[in-house]
Every structure is written in C-alpha cells, then in structure tokens.
C-alpha cells in the first residue's frame, strides 16, 4: 500500500513537472509581458530591462524555469508581480477557503441532492417518480450555472430580498451561489447514482439477498447501496476539486472572492508566478483527489485492498 502511494506520488510529481513546463512555456511564448501593464505609452527599454532584472526575467528561459522549479520545490511559488506584499502561496491560502467553500458546498449539495434523487428513482425504477426525477436530472443538467445564478439572483435576491444579490458577508451570502452552482450538477449525480444503483440491483448477490429472505430496505441499504457506493465515490470525489476550480463563473455572477477571479486577472496581466502557481496548485489538488479516491476505493472495496496486500 505504501509502495503504491509512493508510486502514485511519483506519477503526480511527473504530471506536475510536465504541466509546469507546459504552462511556463505557454505563458512565455505569447505576445506581451507584464511590463506593458495598462501603459498607453511603451516604457523605455531601460525600464523594461530594469523590470526584467528585478523579477529575473532577463535570464534564459530554461534558467528561469529551473529557478522557479527550485523554489517551487520548497513550496515557494514566488511573489505575484501585481501584489508585492504577499506570496503566491499565501494568496492561495487566503483565497482558497472562499473557492473551496463555494465549490465544496455546491458539490456537497449536488451530491446530497443527486444521490437522494438517484436512489429514489432507482428504487422506484420505471414509475412516474423515476420519470419525473429523470426528467429533472436531464433538464437541470443543461442549464449553465451562471444562468441559474441570474435566475435565482432575480427571484430570491432582487425581487424577494431573502438573500443578497452577491458579495461576501456571511452564510446568507453563500446560499444563492451554492444553489446555483450545485443544482445543475445534481442532475448528473442523480443519473449516475441511478445507474450505479440499478447496476447493483440487477446483480446476482441482490437476488441472493432476496432469496434468503432479506426485506427490500435491507437489500437496498446493506447490499445495493454498499456496492453502488464504490463507483459513486470514485466519481463524486473528484467533483470537489473540479467544482472548486470551476467556481469562477459563480464568483463572477455573485461577486465573490475566490481564486478563479484572480486566475483570470493574472492571465490578463501576464502575472507569471500567479498563473503558474494557481495552475499548479489546482493540478496538485486534483491529482491528490484522484489519489485519495483510489486509496479510498481500496479501503471501501475489500477486493482491491486484499489484492494490494497479496501482491
């Protein structure tokens, strides 16, 4: 197991390395640069040179990369060009909670709602309830989150005044973004849950369970759900980092603080350390989530666990 995790970490490290090279090269090959920042009159070559020297941009590309890499290995992602008072790592640390809260809560909502609906629709497969839920799942999934955001903001905020139209202040400010973000995703979750449940329900061991006299509730909880959980978890866990990175639209609609906005900003500003730092951070988070998912998979599925042990 330990060896497995170590091997996976090597894989993640390699992934991150490749990604950093890709992002690094991409950011340096596009026209423009940070020193052209909103300046109507081009700066003098001396100014640009001074700037480049200050941020080490005068060195050959590979040297810059190696410097970045060396620092990154000590978790030093550099200082954003545009925010000299803070490091990229600290900025991520400061803004992550907001993205994580919105994305995480939305994912939680999506999963909770979706799983509940999915189970209900699988348990009553091919009934009107199933049809209604399937219809909901299909349609809700076709609505982009920002559209949902507009609709909710109008009704519940602008019109009824129950919630603020946006901004950051407290739990009340979270309600709309989380719903707007989570609801469309719940459709997909419900469909996948239903599929997993049905798959488990059609399996031989469920037939065995019925044959030995277990009642429906028991079959559903002890046999169907326990097995369906495995593919569900492996699919739903990556939703968390996925939704955290995608919260940029919701941040934009509701004017929330978060990493997404800063990523967009940094890209426009050619703020290399920020772009690279945020990208690498999310990639690390996503890769780790996959790893955790796989480990968890091994924990909840005894077949995998033992196979690992035996091997």
């Amino acid at each position: 197991m330990l060896a497995y995790i170590l091997r996976r970490f090597l894989g993640i490290a390699l992934t991150l390395l490749l990604l950093s090279i890709f992002t690094f090269v991409l950011s340096r090959t596009v026209p423009g640069g940070p020193w052209l920042q909103g300046v109507e009159i081009p700066q003098s070559p001396q100014q640009v040179a001074a700037f480049k020297a200050k941020y080490g941009l005068d060195k050959p590309l590979w040297q810059q990369y190696l410097v970045w890499l060396r620092n990154a290995l000590t978790l030093d992602l550099g200082v954003p060009f545009s925010m000299p008072e803070i490091t990229v790592s600290r900025l991520i640390g400061r803004l992550l909670p907001y993205s994580a809260l919105v994305g995480g809560l939305a994912a939680t909502l999506a999963i909770a709602l979706g799983v509940a609906l999915g189970i209900a629709s699988a348990a009553r497969a091919n009934t009107w309830l199933d049809n209604v839920i399937t219809l909901y799942a299909v349609f809700i999934g076709t609505i982009p989150s920002f559209v949902m955001g507009f609709v909710l903001a109008y009704f519940l905020a602008a019109k009824l005044g129950w919630f603020p139209t946006g901004g950051w202040g407290g739990p009340r400010h979270l309600v709309l973004p989380v719903i707007a973000y989570g609801l469309p995703v719940s459709g997909g979750v419900a469909r996948w849950t239903r599929q997993c449940m049905l798959e488990a329900m059609g399996s031989d061991y469920v037939r065995t369970a019925y044959a030995k006299g277990v009642r429906e509730l028991g079959v559903m909880t002890r046999h169907v759900l326990r097995n369906a959980l495995i593919p569900m978890i492996t699919n739903f866990l990556p939703l968390f980092p996925g939704m955290m990175t995608g919260s940029i639209f919701i941040e934009s609609v509701f004017g929330l603080p978060g990493l997404g906005k800063y990523f967009v900003m940094s890209s426009t500003n050619r703020d290399y350390p920020m772009v690279l730092g945020i990208t690498m951070f999310w990639a690390l988070l996503i890769a780790c989530t996959y790893l955790v998912t796989d480990i968890l998979y091994g924990i909840i599925d005894p077949r995998v666990r033992i196979a690992e042990k035996a091997a």
Binding site: P31, G32, Q37, E40, A50, A153, Y154, G166, V253
Partner: protein, 610 residues
Amino acid sequence: MARKKVARRRFLQLTGMAAAGAVIGGCAQAATPQVVKETVEVVVTKEVEKVVTKEVEKVVEVTPAPPTGPTNALGVTLPADALPLEKQYVLEPIGEVGGGYGHIMESLYNRAFEHFGGTEPLTSLDINLQVYPVACESWQVSEDGLYWDFKLRKELVFSDGKPITAHDWVFTLRRAMSSGYDFGWFYFDIKNAVKVYNGELPPEELGIEAVDDYTLRIYTEKPTPYLPALGVWFAVAPKHAYEQYGENWALDPQKYISSGPFILTKFERGVGHKWELNPNYKGIRRPYIVEIREENLPKGLPAYIAGDIQRISIDANSPAGERALVNANPILRTESHPQPPTNTDYIGFNTLPGKFPPLDNPDVRLALCKAIDKETLVSEIFQGFAEPAWGILPKGFPNYIGEQLKELDPNVYDPEAARQLLAKAGYPDGKGFPVFEMWIRQPDASRMALCEAIQARWKENLGITVELRPSDFQSFTDTAFKQKNAPIYFVNYSLDYYDPATFLNIFRTGGRHPHEDPEWTAFYDEANAIMDPEKRFALLQEAEKRLVLSVAYYFVESPFGIMLWPCNLKGETVQPNKDGYQFYGGGGVGCMHAYEGMYWADPACRAGLR
C-alpha cells in the same frame, strides 16, 4: 480581458470633466465657504492637536442652532437629515489589482486602491472642474515660466504626527521617477524627468527642489502652463515609511501612514479593505462619511436595485438592456446622472515611409476617411452613448472646437470624392489595394460593431478589403505602438488631466504612434509653452486642426456613460455643477476624491424600487 484597462479607464472617467472652457486659475479658489471655515479653525490651533479636538467640541456645544446630525471623528458635523454614523460608509468594489494605488507614488503594480483617501494631492478639482490647492496654499510661476513655487500648508501632518514638508515631496517624486512608476509620463514635463525615468540621469537631477521646508519648486523643460492641473497627480509619500518599513508599507494597515483624511485599517488581499477617518488629518478635504469599504461586490442592475452596490455605470458597453431598464423605472431615472465624455476613439494609420504603402500617401488616407459616414454610424451603434468626434478633444472639454473641425475635409463624408482620391492614387475601385489588418484594442460589442461598419463602408464605397484584428491590450500595445507593425489601428485615449495638452501631447513625434511629423510637433510644442492662456488655446486649436488635416488619424467618437447612485446620497459634491453635470463624491480622482461633501440620508425616496 480588459480588466487592467477598464479599471484605469474608470479611474480616469471619474475625473469627469464638464463642458465649456474653464480657465485654469493662477490662484487658489475656495470650494465651499464651509470648508474654508474649517480650514481657518485648524490653522489657528495647529500647534497642539488636543486643542483642536477641544475647540471642535466647543464649536459643537456652542452652536446648536441649526438642527444637525452626528459629528464624525474629524469633527465634521453631518447635516440634520443624515443617517447615523454607522451607515455613513462608501462601498466600492475591491480593486482588481489594476484599480488605484496603495499610495499614489507607489511603484509599478503596487496598486490596490482607487481613491485619494489616504494621500494628499498637490491640487484638486472642484465640481466645476476648477483647480484648487489642496496640499499647497498657493502657487507662483517664475517670470520665464520655467519653474513654479508651491507654498505648502504648514499645518499638514502625516497620520503618525510627523509634519509634511517639501522634502517629502522631493523624495516622493524622485522615487516615482526612478522606480519604474508606470504612469511616470505624467511628470515628463518636469525638467530631466524623461532622462531620470530612463535611468540616464540620477534621481537628484530631477527638476524638483525644496526651497525651504514649505516651499516646493518644480522646474519644467519648457514653460508648462498646465502644471497646476497636472498637480492633481502629485501626491506626497512619507519618506520615513519607506525607510522604516520598505516598499510595501502602503499595503499593511499596521504600517500605513496616511497624509489624507482616511487611513487604511484593514487590508486583506482579494477579500476586502477598509479605510477609516484619520483623526490626525489637518487638511481641507473633510468628508462626512466615516468609512470606505472595498469588498467583493456583485455586478449589474439587480444588485444595484437590491441595494447591494452603491453605484453603477451604464454606457454603450453595458450588458444589453440596462438603459431601457433605467428608463422604464421612475426612481432609477431620478438616480441616473449623465457624465461628460472623457475619451476619444480614433483610427490611426501607419504612415512610416515604405512600411505599409500606400498608407504613407495622404490622399489614400483621406480617401479612407472620407468614405466613413461617422455621424450616422455613431448614432446608430452607440445610441446616444457617444458623441461623434471631429478632433481628439471630446465634446465639452476645454478648447473644444468640434464645430470648426467638422468642416475639415477628412471629416466630410463624400464617398464619390473618396473614390476619386483613391483612383488618383492608383487604385481605381480599390483594385490592387493591399489587404490590411485593422488592429483593434480590446473591442467591446459596440466598438466592434463600429469597426465592422467602417470595414463595410470601405468595402462598399472604395472596394477595398480591410481585415479586423481584435486584440488584447498587451498584444496591441506591443504590435501597434512598440513594434509599429499594425498598418491600421483603432484605439482609445482618455484624459489624464484637465487640459488640452493631455490629449494633444500623445501625438508628438517620438511618442507612441507610427507617424512622424516633426513640423507639427515643433508647432505644438511652441504653442503649448505659451503662458497666456488665450493665446495658447488659440494656437492649440490650430494644432488640432493640423492634426486632423494630417490624416494620420481619423477621430471617430467620444463615448460617455450614465452613473447611477441612490437618491438618498446627498451633499454639496453630488449637486449639479455649472454645466449641469453631477459627479459621485465630487467626481473622482483629482476632483476631491476622498468622498468629501456627500452623505447618506433617509432612503425613503427609494421605496418601491424593487
């Protein structure tokens, strides 16, 4: 996206300028009697701070006669209809890096804020856009016009109690010009500024000097009649803050040293900032409001209607429909305030010899200009949110002569004449004319539509094909202005200060444009240096005419917007000025921009808005 640029534009738009040529005064002018009275009080008791407070308290006790509201930490008593102090705050969207400055003279990138709450500028503009002294009491220009003496206010102190002296000003400007401050060109009129900025001379050579502790002398390269107007961009920074805390002192509430009426009390990057009144402030900008909050805010009219944001601007680029929505709502209509145009869009041609023939042929360029029916296009596309531009100065700007320029040949739509001109140049019906790209800097929907309409006119009227190349700010600047590789470009310029020079300066040879005209530059420089305002303006008019006639540029339109703020925002500075324009909090940077002269009254007038 256009974040950087948009932010800056907004930042500058807030300096909203009114119509009709205001004369730049050579002497101080009091903004309102009330402010003067305050000033006097402070002057009298400047030695001991504690006395000030007591005196102020006394004033409150002694004169209860008119019904008054609460008194804030600066001792300013709010009008009777004001809401309690805890409601007297200004809510601003958090700076998206670009907007504003931690300290006005901070170096490249250190921008986090968007107002002059924490710094004292040399001069400012009142709501009538007249220059008045802020950190100085008065100024005096030398006989030859080559240097200016600014008499500084002796009572001013930093928030830590240290007096603000001319040495601080000298330090601030030297630092700004030698540390890569990205708006350094604001100060290029100062003697040796360009060379210091480019690192060719040491900062000490900058033409700025402390004659004594309270007299600041600024030398200029040549006579610069608009220097006081430029003074809105001169701010003072505490030398000891740099020495004590290093570069980033202005981004830390623990270290922040304010020279203005507000002081930073919270700074969480990306999350929120807060400014509160600086009780040690002794200057003349004395706001009613007690707090500036910068937060992540929602956007759009619904948020405005719901009261979650305090102001919103609507222009031709706003999401579709906002204007109609405002028109449909009587309360919103009362809350909307048109702003004067402050910028101009123009098309530039790369006339560098041999670079993009035949664009170096004035006849060809004239043909291109005459093929555009500007008036129709602008009114159709901008729907009242822009004035057609006949020269670089936007309508209403001092020395605006649009009516005269309109008659000039390049501004007259005449497709037939255009065709003939083109034929004369060797391209009958556009045959053989190269396919050029028109680079467009950060087009929004309406500008893009405009460019496409122009593209269509050229095709229809001249038979030539031009391809549109929308581009981001960086790539555009790099290609069009630095490499000078764009044959045709569509770009915008916004005012920096309140004088025609702000616009005309950019057309000087050696500036950003791929067009060289030393003759015009010489003429303009001479005209610009004339100290007699009337004579100078007359010659500048001539310069603008020549600029239009050079056909290196074709001026298209000056867009403007409408600012909405709640009807319960009251005070002197939100009143209409002499031209009928109203500015939020006095108009923005350079114009009393510490939100002075405004306060929140009872919101009853907004009832039923939802």
